[in-house]
Amino acid sequence: MDSVRSDLPVTAAAPVPGSAPGRAAPAAQSGDPRWRGGPAVAVKILVAGGFGAGKTTLVGSVSEIRPLRTEEELSELGRPVDDTAGVETKRTTTVAMDFGRIDLKPGLALYLFGTPGQDRFWFVWDELARGALGAVVLADTRRLADCFPSVDFFEQRGIPFLVAVNCFEGSEVFAPEEVRDALDLDPDIPVVLCDARLREDGKEILVALVEHAAVRRRSAGPAGH
């Protein structure tokens, strides 16, 4: 009885490694024998921004696999307060963390975490931000004020970030400097325009962010060498 009870549910459950089409890819990649050779290092970058700013889109466009979703256990505390004014196409609330994985080289994985879009999930943000290389703050110029909390969050914690203006179709195009002024950003914070759906744009954003983090590190002093 015991062995059957233990074995059969596993084989019958969905997450048999490699059995579900969408789930085979990451397992296969990480099953690369080279992975076992050296120490595995994981780094993460956060993708923040207002509700519907395109966080999950960006995570998906840069990741090699479709965005994954994982959940912390959250109550339904804030369900009625979602403000969707001006966000016509997005109906669902991200109460979970969408994330993607990019294998940069054997033994080095980059995780992109979309932050939950509502202020009431700050406690998740704190956990996400721990040890992050940096953060991309996605801005939607139709609701620019939505990214104020994100900017404040990363400024206060000293986490390197840049602002990527997601150029939605039909929304007015602003110059990066206008966005910088509107958000009252420090001069050294990069502001870039992007289309979050495009992989190349996503790559450039991430490269710009990590370069920004490297510059900040250098200016902070030669610690670590």
Partner: protein, 193 residues
């Protein structure tokens, strides 16, 4: 309630895959029942409705024995309360070990089958372990693949860690970030995508 329901959900020794497939087709139009911890009770009642619950499919699937007439796993909804899986624990033994991007790998070499007493490992433990055998996976990925909340995964990983069935690599601590070479590796890796 979770106790007896969990018993029912366990396949009998001769439970077979046929029952699972039947349920799949019967239930195909239906999104995954319930939502995690909340979806349980209402769905549980349907598990043993018996033959005749859905007349349109009866011909295809007769004869059905009581053993076959069960819903398994996702089809049956969350028949086990999340906190039953963790036996009421909300935190792993060693707090902080399982960051979202801590990388977990099955211990190498894997202990011989049967080395760990069967009663120690629940099905969820085994599912997680099966994923860990594929190579380093983050805690977040394990949560996604197993469809379990991260908090539950952490507790179960703690059990596996205590049993020395997995090895865990914590992410680089914040104080040591950012390492110039690491940043360079990340930039080069991104450019090469």
């Amino acid at each position: 309630m979770s106790g007896p329901v969990a018993e029912e959900s366990r396949p009998a020794p001769d439970g077979r895959a046929a029952g699972e497939r039947i349920v799949d087709e019967q239930d195909s139009g239906d999104p995954r029942p319930g939502g995690r911890a909340d979806g349980g009770p209402a769905d549980d009642g349907a598990v043993d409705d018996g033959p005749g619950a859905d007349p349109s499919d009866l011909d295809l699937f007769r004869p059905r024995t009581p053993v076959d007439d069960r819903w398994f796993d996702d089809d049956a909804g969350p028949v086990v309360r999340l906190y039953s899986m963790t036996r009421g624990r909300t935190r792993p033994v060693e707090d902080g070990l399982f960051d979202l991007i801590s990388l977990v790998t099955a211990a190498d070499p894997a202990p011989a089958a049967g080395a760990v007493p069967a009663h120690v490992l629940d099905p969820e433990h085994r599912t997680i372990l099966a994923w860990c055998r594929r190579g380093p996976l983050s805690v977040a990925e394990l949560g996604s693949y197993t469809d379990l909340p991260v908090s539950v995964v952490r507790v179960l990983l703690g059990d596996l860690y205590d049993a020395e069935l997995i090895s865990v690599t914590r992410p680089v601590p914040l104080a040591e970030l950012p390492d110039e070479r690491l940043l360079r590796d990340v930039i080069n890796g991104l450019r090469a995508l």
